[in-house]
């Protein structure tokens, strides 16, 4: 195949990746959105739309902003095929991005080449399949353990999944950012102490807390320039 033929082939490949990526993404999206309703029908209770909207207003908007930022940053790194797959399969920061970058480094693919596009797509497809297989095997092994996992003595553990997560994340994010973290933490602690009723609306409090942290970060960013 000469250079011209290769170029034409690659252009056709990219066009087909966009077409297939869109079709597959729409199908997966419909499946993911339908699943709660199908499960709701099976369980005998459909989602509560009022509660859904309340939840979306409190935390959904935070993730919308986060998703926009991730999309703008990661698509240039991953290329077309890699992006469709990565956003479909998730776990971007903790797996897909470092995996694709590592593969790119190992084979020496240069940014701005077709090689990068192909390597990125292959890398993300392979890593996604590994996750799917590992999780499927793990789930099969977990099924016999269900009675143990549901035992009352383990309930305090499962009732505290979220504090366990936020403790770990607090260390991760506060470390090196204490100047930014101190004020929102103090403001939130004082608010929750003085208005205990707010505890039931913690997810709403993310908005002012996040605004304070972002405002401070911007202030320090400007000062540093």
């Amino acid at each position: 195949m000469n250079e011209e033929a290769k170029r034409e082939y690659y252009e056709r490949y990219i066009a087909s990746i966009h077409r297939l990526g869109r079709i597959m993404s729409v199908i997966v999206l419909v499946m993911l959105l339908a699943a709660p309703f199908v499960i709701g029908a099976y369980l005998g209770a459909m989602p509560n739309i009022g509660a859904f909207l309340k939840g979306f207003l409190s935390i959904g908007l935070v993730y919308l902003v986060s998703c926009i930022a991730e999309y703008l940053i990661y698509v240039p790194m991953l290329g077309a095929g890699g992006s469709y797959l990565a956003f479909m399969t998730g776990n971007l920061i903790n797996m897909k991005i470092p995996c694709a970058m590592t593969a790119k480094d190992i084979v020496g693919a240069k940014s701005g080449t077709a090689e990068n596009e192909i390597i990125s797509t292959l890398s993300i497809a392979a890593s996604s399949l590994v996750t799917i297989v590992v999780l499927a095997l793990g789930v099969v092994m977990l099924i016999p353990l269900q009675p143990v996992l549901q035992s009352p003595s383990l309930q305090p553990a499962f009732d505290n999944v979220v504090p366990a997560l936020f403790g770990a994340m607090a260390y991760k994010y506060y470390r090196g950012n204490l100047k930014i973290a101190a004020v929102p933490l103090l403001v939130m602690a004082v608010l929750f102490i003085l208005v205990p009723g707010l505890t039931g609306s913690t997810s709403f409090m993310i908005i002012p807390s996040g605004a304070i942290a972002i405002g401070l970060a911007y202030l320090y960013h400007r000062r540093a320039k």
Partner: protein, 277 residues
């Protein structure tokens, strides 16, 4: 309720979606491999990519599996399996599930309070909150990558990869856009970190407030439970140890387990600390 959440029907629904996404991955991988060969990429490089990616992904996948275990007590096994196999990430899923649980009127993400309506609402909110990357891909990926290609045309024309380099310049985005975004990119990272600091602060503040003024006994009565705060402290301590190991032993792989591992350690602490209450 938890038994219903672990029923075969839920495994079937979630398993079907996971299987479909697995097939999509296989399909994309085959197409990319064939295209790579056709445009002249050395086949050994393609094989090396697959081997490197498979080996790289094993450890983080085990970490993700620990996340499924962590969420299985409150949401059953099938739903966390689906969410963490497809689209999700442990820290996102847990936060959204907690916010959704609050929105439907539960005290928090807890199996003991879970109802069918609460679960289906939580599941819907988890699906909607973390779907935007896919939505943007559907509507804008083609245009975005095309614009990036156009922005880097001059550079790509001189690419040593010849035809492949020219045509595939969209990945150049990393270079071209980085320069364009400049100062904004610098603050973008900080803003993301700050947003998560705000999010974590709201929850840690609520645990503190819940202990000091909660339990319906009045402000500063210390009538609430200290357990969430203690569990959060255990999670932070475990994370500190993981970070120390990573830095002292230069063991980058520890990162794959640090969040899920810290959570499991803190949850184990909850079992023992819970007996003190």
């Amino acid at each position: 309720m938890i038994q219903q959440l672990n029923s075969p029907v839920l495994y079937l629904i979630c398993g079907a979606i996971v299987l479909f996404v697995a097939l999509v991955c296989v399909f994309f991988a085959i197409r990319a491999y064939r295209a790579g060969k056709a445009i002249g990429i050395d086949e050994s490089k393609l094989k090396q990519t697959v081997v490197a990616s498979v080996t790289f992904a094993i450890l983080p996948s085990v970490g993700i599996l620990l996340g499924v275990i962590a969420l299985s007590g409150s949401l059953g096994i099938p739903w966390p399996w689906l969410r963490l196999s497809v689209i999700g990430a442990l820290h996102y899923e847990t936060q959204v599930a907690e916010a959704a649980a609050e929105a439907v009127g539960l005290d928090g993400l807890s199996a003991s309070q879970m109802t069918a309506e609460a679960f289906s609402t939580i599941a819907l909110l988890m699906s909607v909150c973390i779907m935007w990357g896919m939505v943007f891909c559907i509507f804008t990926c083609k245009g975005y990558t095309a614009r990036l290609t156009a922005g880097s045309k001059g550079n790509a024309s001189g690419s040593p990869d010849g035809a492949a380099g020219k045509a595939g310049a969209q990945a150049e985005a990393s270079g071209a856009t980085t320069k364009k975004k400049g100062a904004f990119a610098g603050f973008g990272d900080k803003a993301m970190t700050a947003m998560f600091i705000g999010l974590v602060s709201a929850y840690i503040g609520s645990y503190l407030g819940g202990w000091i003024s909660g339990g319906g006994k009045g402000i500063f009565a210390f009538g609430g439970s200290w357990l969430p705060l203690a569990v959060a402290a255990c999670g932070a301590a475990a994370m500190a140890v993981f970070t120390l190991i990573k830095e002292k032993a230069k063991a980058e792989w520890v990162d794959s387990f640090s969040i899920a591992g810290s959570m499991l350690i803190a949850m184990t602490c909850a079992i023992f600390l819970g007996r003190l209450i």
